[in-house]
Amino acid sequence: MKDRSVILGLILLAPIILFSTAHAGEGIPDPRAGWNELWHELMIDITLIGLVFAGVTVYFMVRYKRQRPDEEGGSFKLTPLGAFGWTLIPAFIFMADDIFLAAKNFELWNDYRNVPENAYVVEVEAYMWGWNVKYPDEGIEVNNEMYVPQGRPIMVRLTSRDVVHSFFIPDFRVKWDALPGRTTYLWFYPKERGEHVMTCTEYCGLLHSNMYGKIKVISQDEFSSWIEKNKKEGGAV
C-alpha cells in the first residue's frame, strides 16, 4: 500500500517538477503570452491528474467485475495507520499542486494588475448597449471602435453609465467588469497590427449579445495622423 502511495505521489507531482524549470520574460511582460503559457501548463497538469484517476477506475472496473452471482467484495479493510496515510498523503499531494498553481497565478496576476509606466490611456464608458471610447488627452470620442498604436501597452479605464457590463477582448486574454459609480482598469499589449473583437460579457439585457465593437491596432504613424484628423473634426461620435 505504501508503495502505491509513493507511485501515485510521483505521478501527481510530475507536472510540478516538469514546469518549475519553465520560465521566461524580460522587459515589459505580456499578459497574453503569460496566460497562454500558464494555460498550457495547467491543461497538462489537470489532464495528468484526470488520467490517473480515470486509469485506476477503468482498471478496477475490469479487474473486479463480478464473476459469480454470490461473490462478495469487502474483504479489504484499512488499518488505522492506513486510513491516516490515505487521508494525509493524497491531501498533501493535492495541496502541493494547489500551492504550485497559486504561486504561478500570483506571478501572472501581478503582470495583469501592474500597468507599465509608458502605457497609453484610453477611457471606456459602457452603456446599454455599446462602448463609448474616449481619448482624454486628445478630446476625442468614438463609439464601438478603439484605435490603438501598435507596440505600446494600452491601459483602459472602465466605468459604466447604467448597469454592470464587462469589457472583453478575447484575443488579448483580458476582461474586466465596468460598474456604475466606480472606475476599474485593465491593460493589454498589442504587438502586431490587426483587428480584434471587444465585446460585453456581463449580462445586461435585451441587446447584450450585440454589444460589441472593433479594436484596430495601427502603426504609431497611422495612429498619430488618426489623432490629428479626429482632433480637427472635434471627435468622431
Binding site: 484517476f53 467484495g73 479489504f76 479493510k77 498553481l101 448597469v163 460579457t201 456581463e202 447584450h208 449579445s209
Partner: protein, 536 residues
C-alpha cells in the same frame, strides 16, 4: 405511529386527499420528486429551445432576444432551485433518511408537509413566468442594477427564492433533528451511511447560508419597488454588495447539491461493488466536513474581476484551490471503494461510474477558474457553463437519475426494464459529452455566455451546431429514461425486498415498498452491523 391494518392497503387505494394532507416522509418525498422532475423537464425544454436558437447566427426560432433571455432565466433558476436542490434535499433526503437510520418518520412530520407545499408554491410561482406579460429576464443571479432597472418582473424572482428558501430552512431543522435524535439503537454516528452524513452537511450549509440569499433578494425588490438604494451607486449604494451576498450563499449552494449527489453515488457504488467504503472516516472528516468548512470562505472567486481589491482575490485563489483537497479525498474514496469489490453493472451502477468520469472533467476544469489570472479570460465565457454543467448539472443529474433507478424497486415495489435503463444511460452519456465538451472548447475561444446571438464570432457557428445536435441526444435519452420508469411502474415485475443484495437498512429490513412506519418489526441490530458490512 403504529403499523395498522391500513398499511396493508397502502399501495392499493389512491386518495387525493391522503396525498395532499400526508405527513408520511415517503409520500412527501414523492411529492418532491414529481415537482422536481416537472421543473427538470420544463427547464430542459428551455435548454432545447436555446440550443436550437444558437444553432445558427441571427434569429433561428425567435426574433426577440428577450424571449431567449426569459428562457435562460427560467432554465437556470428552475434547474437549481426547482430541480436539483429539491430532488436531493427534498426527495432523496425524505425518502432515505428515516429508512437508512431506522426511524419511523422524520422528527417533525407536519413541518415536513409545510416544507413540501412551500416548495410547490415556489414551483407554481416560477411557472407564472410563462403567464405574466413582464416575465423576469434577470438570469438566476439577478445582478443589480440591471435587475432593479429592467421592465421584467423582479418580484417574481424574489418571492420564488424566498418560498423555496423557507422550505429549505424548515427541511434543515427537520433533518438535523431527525439525524441527531431518531437513529435506531445500534445506528451509531460512525456507522451512518455516507449519504446521511452528506445530507446532514448539506442542511447545515443551508441553515447557515440561505438566510443570506433571502436578505439579498429581498433588498433587490426593496430597491426596485420601494425606492431604497442598497445597490444604487448614484445614491451611495453599491452593486457589489449584492454580488458578495449572492455568492456568499450561492457558492456553498453548489455543495448543498454536490454533497448529497456524492452521497448517493457512494451508496450505489458500495452496493453494486458489495464493498465497504474505502477510508470511511477519511472521507467523512476530511472530505465532507472539509467541504463544509471551506465552502463558506471561497465565494469571492466569482468576483475576481468584479471590482474587489486585488489582495482579496489572491486570498480567495488559495482558499478556492484548497477545495481540491476535500473533494479529491472524496474522489479517492469513490474509486477506492471499487478496489477488491465485486462489481455488477446494473443501470444505477452505470450512472455511478458515469458520475466518476463526468465529475473528474467537471472538477478538474474548475481548477483554472480558481486561478484569478487564468479566470480573467475564461470567466463569463462558455467555459463557465461548460464547467458547471459537467460538475453540477450533468454529474448531479447522473446521480439523481442513477439514484432514482437505484431506489425504484423500493419506491414502487416494481423493477424497471434493465435494457431500456442501460440504453438511456449510454445515449445520455454520449449526448452530454458532445454538448458540454464543445461548450468548454468554445469558451476557450472566447465565446461569451448568455448570448442570444454571436455575429462577432462567425467562426463558431459550426461548433454551435454540433453542440445543438448533442443536446438533442440528451433530450432523446431523457425520453427513454422517462419511458423506462413509466414502463416499470405499470408493467414491471414485482420487486423483492432487497434486489441488489445491499446491507443498508432500507433494503435489509423494510419491504418494497415500505408501509407507513417503515419497519414491520422492531429493529435489532448486532454489534457487527454496518450498512457496508460485506464479505463477512
Amino acid at each position: 405511529m403504529s403499523v395498522s391494518v391500513e398499511s396493508l392497503n397502502y399501495q392499493s387505494r389512491f386518495s387525493l386527499k391522503e396525498w395532499i394532507f400526508t405527513t408520511d416522509h415517503k409520500r412527501i418525498g414523492v411529492l418532491y420528486l414529481i415537482g422536481s422532475f416537472a421543473a427538470f423537464f420544463l427547464a430542459g425544454l428551455m435548454a432545447m429551445l436555446m440550443r436550437t436558437e444558437l444553432s445558427s447566427i441571427g434569429p433561428t426560432i425567435t426574433e426577440n432576444p428577450n424571449t431567449y433571455n426569459v428562457w435562460l432565466y427560467f432554465h437556470g433558476a428552475a434547474m437549481i432551485l426547482g430541480y436539483q436542490i429539491p430532488a436531493l434535499t427534498g426527495f432523496f433526503a425524505n425518502y432515505y433518511v428515516p429508512l437508512m437510520i431506522g426511524a419511523k418518520d422524520v422528527a417533525f412530520p407536519r413541518l415536513n408537509a409545510l416544507s413540501v407545499w412551500l416548495f410547490w408554491m415556489g414551483i407554481v410561482l416560477a411557472l407564472l413566468t410563462f403567464v405574466i406579460p413582464d416575465p423576469p429576464d434577470i438570469m438566476w443571479t439577478g445582478y443589480p442594477p440591471y435587475s432593479t432597472m429592467t421592465p421584467g418582473n423582479t418580484a417574481l424572482y424574489t418571492f420564488t427564492v424566498l418560498l423555496i428558501g423557507f422550505s429549505s430552512i424548515a427541511g434543515g431543522v427537520n433533518f438535523l433533528t431527525t439525524i441527531m435524535y431518531m437513529r435506531a439503537p445500534g445506528v451509531t454516528w460512525n456507522k451512518l451511511n455516507v449519504f446521511i452524513w452528506c445530507i446532514l452537511a448539506a442542511f447545515i450549509i443551508q441553515l447557515i447560508f440561505v438566510p443570506v440569499l433571502g436578505v439579498a433578494v429581498t433588498m433587490l425588490s426593496l430597491d426596485k419597488y420601494l425606492g431604497t438604494n442598497f445597490f444604487n451607486a448614484a445614491m451611495g449604494g453599491d452593486p457589489l454588495i449584492y454580488q458578495n451576498l449572492f455568492w456568499f450563499y450561492s457558492h456553498p449552494a453548489v455543495y448543498v447539491i454536490l454533497l448529497p449527489a456524492m452521497g448517493l453515488i457512494y451508496e450505489i457504488i458500495a452496493t453494486f461493488s458489495r464493498n465497504s467504503i474505502f477510508n470511511y472516516k477519511g472521507i467523512l472528516y476530511g472530505g465532507i466536513w472539509g467541504v463544509v468548512l471551506l465552502g463558506g470562505i471561497v465565494w469571492a472567486h466569482h468576483l475576481y474581476i468584479a471590482g474587489i481589491p486585488d489582495w482579496m482575490a489572491l486570498v480567495h485563489v488559495f482558499l478556492t484551490l484548497l477545495i481540491s483537497v476535500p473533494v479529491g479525498l472524496m474522489m479517492v474514496g469513490l474509486v477506492g471503494t471499487l478496489y477488491r469489490g465485486s462489481i455488477e453493472y446494473k443501470t444505477p451502477m452505470l450512472y455511478a461510474i458515469g458520475f466518476i468520469f463526468l465529475f473528474l472533467i467537471g472538477g478538474l476544469t474548475g481548477i483554472p477558474n480558481a486561478m484569478s489570472a487564468i479566470y480573467i479570460h475564461i470567466t463569463e465565457t462558455y467555459w463557465i457553463p461548460g464547467h458547471f454543467h459537467y460538475v453540477m448539472a450533468i454529474s448531479v443529474t447522473t446521480a439523481i437519475i442513477g439514484g432514482t433507478y437505484y431506489v425504484f424497486p423500493k419506491l414502487t415495489g416494481r423493477m424497471y426494464h434493465e435494457g431500456l435503463g442501460k440504453l438511456g444511460f449510454f445515449i445520455f452519456f454520449i449526448g452530454v459529452n458532445i454538448t458540454f465538451f464543445l461548450t468548454l472548447l468554445m469558451g476557450v475561444k472566447g465565446m461569451p455566455r448568455r448570448y442570444y446571438d454571436y455575429p462577432q464570432f462567425p467562426e463558431l457557428e459550426g461548433i454551435q451546431q454540433i453542440t445543438t445536435y448533442g443536446s438533442y441526444l440528451i433530450f432523446v435519452s431523457a425520453v427513454i429514461i422517462l419511458v423506462s420508469w413509466i414502463h416499470g411502474l405499470v408493467a414491471g415485475e414485482k420487486a423483492p425486498q432487497n434486489p441488489w443484495g445491499s446491507r443498508s437498512l432500507e433494503w435489509t429490513h423494510a419491504p418494497s415498498p415500505p408501509p407507513p412506519g417503515n419497519f414491520p418489526r422492531k429493529l435489532e441490530l448486532t454489534e457487527e452491523w454496518s450498512p457496508y458490512n460485506y464479505g463477512s
